[in-house]
């Protein structure tokens, strides 16, 4: 295995009956890279992400995540990744520290590690005084930042973020990206989906999915050059406008 490659997909395909949800996608994500995975509703992003997280078996093609095969080593993949989505993040009726302890416990961290990393995490977010607060009563922005920090508490090789910043105010959204950059600096590969096209600009490389295919895959600067436009929003619009699969 190439040590610099975190995720590699080759002609990865998923069919549901006659419907090809993911259509022979090929791409790779480098270790420590921030990889933007964008596409219209129903383009197949969620299905592709599920396969990469070891939650769904592809119909054909190959893919490795953190060096593990998605067919054979789904369990090993799960141990080596972190996952956070806008919908599912933390237990609202548990305190901040209880959430941290719970998630760290799931990944088998020792009591000492849980304590140390928990304290470090709270420190970094500047919410040490809120350790015993119920997550439900925290502002949305804090919740999201906390959820991200919890998702990487076991120091995974890769973290998958599914629309992590939906509905968050512009300042918190940027603070969230600061956290993503920090994680990337520590060598964690970040795989992120978003509907905010300005966030696509923050990524090292971006893939744009249309109708199950990856129609564009490059750095934001190159993509903009290729389509002769000045923003990722326009790149996305150019690509997704022609999508056939609108009602699915």
């Amino acid at each position: 295995m190439d040590n610099n490659i975190a995720i590699k997909a080759d002609k990865l395909t998923k069919r549901f009956g006659d419907f090809v949800a993911v259509d022979a996608i090929t791409f790779d994500v480098k270790q420590g890279e921030i990889f933007g995975f964008v596409g219209a509703n129903g383009a197949g992003k969620t299905t592709a992400m599920r396969i990469l997280c070891g939650l769904s078996t592809p119909t054909s093609g190959t893919a490795t995540v953190a060096g593990f095969d998605v067919y054979k080593d789904a369990e090993k993949i799960k141990k080596n990744i972190g996952y956070m989505s806008q919908k599912f993040s933390l237990y609202e009726d548990l305190t901040v520290m209880e959430n941290i302890t719970f998630y760290a416990g799931i990944y088998g961290l020792s009591d000492k590690d849980i304590k140390d990393r928990g304290a470090e995490l709270l420190d970094r977010l500047g919410i040490a005084h809120e350790a015993k607060t119920f997550v439900g009563s925290l502002p949305l922005g804090w919740k999201q930042k906390l959820a991200f920090s919890v998702a990487v508490i076991h120091r995974p090789k890769i973290v998958f973020l599914d629309e992590p910043t939906g509905g968050v105010d512009p300042v918190t959204r940027r603070q969230f990206w600061d956290l993503i950059y920090e994680a990337s600096d520590r060598g964690i590969t970040v795989f992120v989906t978003t509907h905010y096209m300005d966030e696509a600009e923050y990524c090292g490389r971006v893939s744009v999915m249309v109708d199950g295919r990856i129609d564009a895959f490059d750095t934001p600067a190159n993509l903009k050059k290729k389509f002769s436009v000045d923003s990722m929003n326009k790149v996305f619009y150019e690509l997704a406008r022609g999508a056939k699969r609108k009602a699915d």
Partner: protein
């Protein structure tokens, strides 16, 4: 006459413990498209629910189409269209059945007002026998808009109609709103996407239950104090750190592929000094240009202090 008026509307939850809307005052003119711009939890939905007579305000008064939201709630319910924040159609009913149902509930028929929804409906018509639960986000949103429009409302309330919808569908949706405006329908719309604000006639920026600014998009950005610069370099992440530690910087945030930097009031806004500082830090491919502020810049500017305190 104004389509909507709010006079010091206040709404609290949990017996006054949570202040959701704090003395909101604004009005929406007949035929105007008015945007409420702010993040989740800013109080947008509470304002919508007070105006659509779903919740009683704790203080202040408000009218919709000239009717009082407390006393004349039945009259208001006869003449408004409402699209709540989450997908609220019957998933197990087909597109057609949903539309017919809502038409009947509003004492009308699809035929009667077909002209109004025609342009939108033709896009979903090929799927009219499909269950609403099986539609894509963009299609669901179009159907929901058709259902909210079918009785030709005087005032249309759209609570975050584009949340969770992809960029292409968002553009299409705003095109539809533009055409509705020509039909003379007054629209109150909320969104967390700042780029959509520019498409409204007037906007109110809202955060923490408070209205921070009410003006046209053009006037809103004119209020931005001082100059704003876009800075680009090869290593953007390092650039952010260095810009933030620069002595003259008031604030620095990433905006797409550039950093938006504003300087302290008394600071030297001489670009050459900044260029010197950044070059000394080893930045390459440096680009610095003064740019006009956008709505998001202004929103950050007026909320950053509060958010930092939170």
């Amino acid at each position: 006459m104004s389509a909507i008026t709010l006079d010091n509307i206040t709404k609290t939850y949990n017996k006054g413990k949570v202040l959701a809307v704090d003395k909101a005052t604004f009005d929406v003119a007949e035929g105007e498209t008015f945007g409420l711009i702010g993040p989740d939890g800013a109080g947008k939905t509470s304002i919508f629910r007070v105006l659509t007579t779903l919740l009683l305000p704790d203080g202040g008064s408000a009218t919709v189409a000239g009717f009082d939201v407390v006393k004349d709630y039945e009259k208001i319910r006869n003449c408004i269209g409402y699209m709540p924040g989450r997908f609220s159609l019957y998933q197990d009913l087909t597109v057609e059945e949903n539309l017919n149902f809502f038409a009947t509930i509003f004492n009308t028929t699809v035929k009667e007002n077909y002209k109004l929804i025609e342009e939108i409906y033709v896009q979903i018509e090929p799927f009219k026998t499909r269950r609403a639960g099986k539609l894509s986000g963009g299609m669901k949103q179009k159907l929901a808009l058709c259902c909210a429009l079918i009785h030709k409302p005087r005032v249309l309330f759209l609570d975050e109609p584009t949340t969770g919808v992809d960029a292409v569908s968002r553009v299409e949706f705003w095109d539809m709103l533009k055409r509705l405006k020509h039909q003379g329908i007054s629209i109150l719309v909320s969104t967390p996407y700042m780029d959509e604000a520019a498409l409204c006639d007037r906007i109110a920026l809202i955060e923490g239950g408070k209205l921070l600014s009410i003006a046209s998009p053009a006037d809103t950005i004119k209020k931005y104090p001082g100059k704003l610069f876009a800075v680009k370099a090869a290593n953007m992440h390092q650039l952010l750190k260095d810009l933030r530690s620069y002595e003259g910087t008031h604030s620095c945030f990433t905006f797409g592929d550039a950093m938006h930097v504003s300087f302290k009031q008394d600071a030297n806004t001489d670009v050459s000094k900044l260029t010197g500082y950044l070059t000394a830090k080893g930045h390459k491919e440096l680009e610095i240009a003064e740019i006009p502020a956008g709505i998001e810049d202004y929103f950050i500017r007026i909320t950053e202090k509060e958010i930092a305190e939170k």
